[in-house]
Amino acid sequence: MNVQAKPKPVPVISSWAKPFWDAAKEGKLLYQRCKDCNTNVFYPRIACTNCFSDNLEWVESSGKGTVYTYTVVESNPPSAFIQDLPFVIAIIKLEEEGVQMLSNIVDCDPHEVECDMPVEVVFEKLNDEITLPKFKPIKA
């Protein structure tokens, strides 16, 4: 495929989610907790998804979770990712927090990834402005 490597898409950051992205640069994975009804919220919202309260606080996640589902992307990705093939996209369940997020599984052979496998967060610098939380298997 004669496609020029495109720069990676950077997250289009919502103003209220800025603390999440700032913390990621510092190596911390944050989620929100509603101070009124105790609901854990991810991805970051303007208001609690349960009670609409805007009294949300930022809490640091343990960064530990499991792979709910995954795929090894082997061909035909968005053009900015062609040079990364093969790579793993997964939905991670942060078990303690009870929330889910999309990420990549890194630091392993892509074909070793399995459903329900325990993983922990790592941070990958995309550029000076953006660091993406990713996950790696927790070795027994």
């Binding site: 991805y43 939905i91 889910q100």
Partner: protein
């Protein structure tokens, strides 16, 4: 909870589809997208056998390939091109892949309220020749996929489908061959469909030998984008009976919205089909065993398999075997996705499910030619949009049970 009067569309038997039109799904590099809309709409009006001036409301759904063309649809080009004189409103109804079901329900509600009498719903898009392959992948990777939470990780439609496949296979113990069986079943129908793009016989082995895209999803388990156009005409049940001997009545509508960001879907191996299906079947007063045809939205085989099972056509995890042994094929016990689906007819954007709606009507009207399901009276049709953000279920029939 489910089946309460306030959850139903209250349109059971009140409105009907009386005309359908569709151009073959294909590549038309030489012709403009507006012509697909005009041709399909003309066919639908002629099929209904009505005077075009009866149409008082036009619903063009969205075209994705070009914002400029979509603006033309919004700004009444279809009305002017068709020379329609009595149109009160031209208003776009768009819910991605769910546009057909959402459009039919909205059209039905407008007609039932008296705000409209005869509505033309029309789709056209040029995703086959209006954009190149990589541009298409890039367009869809940023179309309904969260720009903050998913696009930066390389999420795109193949990976979205693959994530559902992985969890479904893990939970049910099925194999990728079961997914391939859905593609084969759809192809059996497409072989008999002159409007389908892929019409050569297909085997499970061929699907399994095709290029791996995102595990376990292979190239021949993926839809391809084409140019296409389709249209249908909705009117009151009363008027429909004047026009035709075989009105296709709306009997039940069910729907549920489950997510915007794909990773927020609580169950990527089920989605909302069970709830939406129950609503629609209860409104219709029918059950899956009463329907003659299951027109289940595909785009990828996993979504067709999940929809088929969750609607109650079989136990969870058994669908793959049913597709494999031929129950869903022409001549089978439960004919399924009889136009070949987006996997074989071709994907035209919002038109994928419009084609399925048109096919449902075509079968019920007895106009499906070589692939006609004999004596079909009741059918279920499903649709879903975005990253499988919702589950929409429509029950149609030639009589009101």
């Amino acid at each position: 909870m489910i089946g309460k009067e306030e959850e139903m569309s209250n349109l059971r038997g009140k409105v009907a589809i009386v005309g359908i039109g569709e151009i073959p799904t294909a590549r038309y590099p030489e012709t403009a997208a507006i012509s697909y809309a005009i041709e399909s709409a003309k066919m639908a009006i002629r099929d209904a056998g009505i005077n075009k001036e009866e149409i008082d409301y036009v619903m063009p759904t969205a075209s994705l390939y070009s914002p400029a063309f979509n603006t033309e649809l919004v700004t009444c080009r279809v009305v002017e091109e068709l020379g329609l004189k009595n149109v009160k409103k031209n208003c776009q109804v768009f819910a991605g892949g769910s546009s057909s079901s959402c459009g039919l329900e909205m059209a039905g509600a407008l007609i039932n309220s008296g705000a409209a009498s005869t509505i033309l719903f029309v789709h056209s898009d040029k995703l086959g020749t209006g954009v190149d392959l990589q541009a298409g992948i890039d367009l869809f990777a940023a179309s309904g996929v969260s720009l903050e939470w998913e696009v930066p990780y390389g999420q795109h439609y193949s990976s979205i489908a693959a994530l559902a496949c992985t969890r479904y296979l893990y939970e049910t113990g099925n194999t990728p061959e079961h997914l391939a069986a859905v593609c084969v079943s759809n192809r059996k129908w497409a072989e008999l469909n002159p409007n389908a793009f892929f019409r050569k016989p297909l085997s499970i082995e061929e699907v399994m030998a095709s290029k791996m895209l995102s595990t376990p999803l292979r190239a021949k388990m993926s839809n391809m984008l084409f140019d296409g156009g389709s249209a249908f005409i909705v009117t009151s049940a009363e008027r429909a009976r004047d026009i035709t001997d075989r009105p296709v009545y709306l009997l039940g509508e069910g729907g549920t919205v489950t997510h915007f960001v794909y990773s927020q879907e609580p169950d990527v191996s089920r989605f909302g089909w069970a709830k939406a299906g129950k609503m629609a079947f209860e409104e219709a007063g029918l059950s899956p065993k009463d329907v003659d045809i299951a027109e289940i939205y595909d785009s990828y085989p996993i979504f067709q398999l999940i929809g088929f099972e969750e609607l109650g056509f079989c136990e969870r995890g058994q669908g793959g075997e049913i597709f494999m042994r031929g129950d869903t094929w022409p001549g089978g016990k439960i004919p399924t996705t009889t136009n070949g689906g987006m996997l074989s007819q071709g994907h035209t954007g919002a038109g994928g499910a419009v084609a399925l709606m048109v096919e449902t009507c075509r079968q019920l009207m007895g106009k499906a030619g070589e692939r006609q399901v004999p004596g079909a009276r009741f059918a279920v049709e499903t649709a879903t949009g975005g990253t499988y953000m919702d589950a929409q279920v429509t029950i149609l029939g030639t009589e009101i049970p």
